[in-house]
């Protein structure tokens, strides 16, 4: 009986979490116009989606912004984490607290403050400002993903590589980077999903003509009701799911192997 309650409780939790999404995806296959009555299966909504110029442009923008911002923030974030790791304890704590602020800050504050900042500098809002903003809010997440790996790293391996003839750059690439790679990759994937998902910050910094998938969904659902929006959401769910699975793969490989002895 106790087990039954436990299971049904879990079931309810997952139901509340995933039913709305399942509902949304289900109606992306609806052949009718209604969002309530399912009248038959079709892929027409998906076809519409991929022929819609505005949505395709938004998809392209999203991918470019997410791609560039996650790569750039991964590089900057990894370098920053290495620098922070070498600081003294109180300095490290201070910098880490500053790093946490953007993570804890509501997106709307990040968005508005950046908008005001760019306006004050006289920079016109558009693609560039959205990209800069995405890089900025991604960096702390990369730092937070890389730091724990850096803490485990054996720095003497880096010295050993230098000792064996590797230049500092080569020693970093051969001895240090492979050790922190799982952290770098998960930081990168986190940045990628955050960038794809972001609506609020983009909304404030996009100016007039730049649209990403999130802003398109927002503006379209306000003006016209179309099931191709359901299809778009379906695509996004699948994409995020794939990234999530990828992000969890390296951890599985890392399981410690059984100790062997002779």
């Amino acid at each position: 009986m106790k087990k039954w309650f436990q299971r049904s409780y879990m079931g309810l939790v997952f139901l509340f979490l995933y039913l709305p999404i399942a509902y949304l995806v289900l109606f992306s296959f609806n052949s009718g116009k209604s969002k309530v009555i399912f009248s038959g299966f079709t892929l027409k909504n998906y076809a519409d989606l991929f022929t819609d110029q505005q949505i395709m442009q938004a998809l392209l923008n999203t991918l470019i912004i997410a791609g560039i911002s996650s790569i750039v923030s991964t590089i900057i974030g990894t370098m920053a984490a290495m620098g922070i790791q070498r600081l003294r304890k109180w300095q490290r704590n201070a910098v880490m607290n500053v790093t946490y602020i953007p993570v804890l800050n509501p997106d709307i504050i990040t968005g508005i403050s950046m908008m005001l900042f760019f306006s004050a500098l006289g920079i016109s809002l558009g693609f560039g400002t959205v990209l800069l903003a995405h890089i900025t809010f991604n960096i702390p997440y990369v730092i937070l993903a890389v730091m724990p790996k850096l803490r485990q790293v054996d720095y003497s391996a880096y010295e050993a590589a230098e000792d064996l003839g590797a230049s500092p750059a080569l020693a970093f690439r051969k001895a240090l980077l492979p050790q922190i790679m799982p952290g770098v990759i998960s930081g990168f994937l986190m940045a990628l999903t955050l960038s794809v998902d972001d609506f609020v910050v983009t909304f404030f910094l996009r100016g007039v003509e730049v649209e990403t998938l999130a802003t398109v969904i927002y503006t379209t659902t306000k003006t016209r009701i179309s099931l191709s929006m359901n299809a778009l959401c379906g695509v996004m769910v699948v994409v995020v799911l794939i990234i999530l699975i990828l992000a969890n793969l390296p951890q599985k490989q890392q399981k410690p192997k059984k100790e062997e002895r002779i």
């Binding site: 054996d154 391996a157 050993a160 000792d163 230049s167 500092p168 492979p178 100790e259 062997e260």
Partner: protein, 345 residues
């Protein structure tokens, strides 16, 4: 014999704390040299200065007579075996050992030959594909030694390489390191705080304290002729007592005159007298002998360790004869076992 490494007037300090000051040392080619001292004596700093990880703020490091002070570690012809092995966890045994040759873009066929040669040298044949994290401490240390030796360094630096191993394994590795050094015919510079390890393996021992060299010599020299009370105390166990050098070949301590073999200290000069615990013989007390009362007896396997109190000094004695606590005994010391040290100014 030629000097392979010369340290000239080296000065190193960290955050205002002076570690080495006006430090001078010559190391002869093909020798097994050990830096011995308590932690914080500057022995590892000296080693890292030779490796190139520490830049002295003053002074010169010479390698075969050439100034290499400004050369970064990767351009120096020395290799290091690190305290905690510092293996590359993402590589297997083969790739760890091959690392140095891959950096120098050596032909893969030659690498394969050299790696198997090295594995043979360190007794790890058949371990090529093994994950280094799955190896025991002793095996990891062997991989680290092979990895450092594959570059054919003229000098191998070893930073307390056996520190993390258990006693039995450590003894085995000591003989093995000595064998490897003879077989390769290169200079080993070894850092340790374990005096027994230093005495067992070295051709030359450099005893250090507070960044200063206390004594340089063969293990026998250091043990039998310690230059000051620190060396006498640090190397093995010893009784160090204040005495008076009456004249050449005669010393007086605890009110008893002893003939000795030392001379040249002058007449009626205060000196420090060193007597090793195993060099004192316990006999029946007689008039005019150094006498004392047994305060404690501990069984140590090969011998009993006794603490005997004389007038002003508590003697540590290793004896194979057992005496009960409270027994009055006499202590005999033959002239050869008495070592005289001049008082430090």
């Amino acid at each position: 014999m030629e000097n392979i490494i010369e340290l000239k007037d080296i000065h190193v300090s960290f955050e205002g704390e002076v570690i080495l000051d006006h430090f001078n040392l010559n190391i002869k080619d093909k020798e097994f040299v050990t830096f011995l001292g308590p932690s914080g004596c500057g022995k590892t700093t000296t080693l890292r200065t030779i490796a190139g990880f520490i830049q002295p703020s003053q002074g010169k490091v010479l390698f075969e007579g050439k100034d290499i002070t400004a050369l970064p570690p990767h351009k120096r012809q020395v290799n290091t075996v690190f305290q905690r092995y510092a293996l590359f966890p993402h590589y297997n045994v083969y790739d760890n050992i091959a690392f140095g040759l891959r950096i120098s873009k050596t032909d893969e066929k030659e690498i394969a030959e050299r790696v198997s040669e090295m594995l043979k040298l360190v007794n790890l044949k058949g371990f090529e594909k093994r994950n280094v994290t799955s190896l025991s401490g002793g095996q990891q240390q062997r991989v680290a030694i092979a990895r450092a030796l594959i570059n054919n360094p003229k000098v191998l630096l070893l930073d307390e390489p056996l520190g993390a191993l258990d006693l039995k394994l450590r003894k085995g590795m000591q003989t093995e390191l000595k064998r490897i050094q003879r077989q390769m015919g290169i200079t080993f510079i070894y850092v340790t705080h374990d005096q027994e390890e230093a005495l067992t393996m070295s051709d030359t021992v450099v005893v250090m304290k507070d960044g200063l060299i206390q004594q340089i010599g063969t293990p026998e020299d250091i043990y039998n002729e310690p230059r000051n009370p620190f060396v006498a105390d640090f190397i093995g166990e010893s009784n160090i007592i204040e005495g008076l050098m009456l004249r050449d070949l005669l010393v007086k301590f605890e009110g008893v005159e002893f003939p000795c073999v030392d001379k040249g200290f002058g007449e009626n000069k205060p000196v420090d007298v060193v007597v090793r615990p195993e060099d004192i013989e316990i006999t029946e007390p007689k008039e005019g002998m150094l006498c004392g009362t047994v305060e404690s007896v501990t069984f140590k396997g090969v011998h009993y360790e006794m603490m005997v109190r004389s007038e002003n000094y508590l003697w540590k004695i290793h004896s194979i004869t057992y005496k009960e606590i409270g027994t009055r005994v006499a202590m005999e010391i033959i002239p050869e076992y008495i070592h005289i040290m001049a008082k430090e100014v």
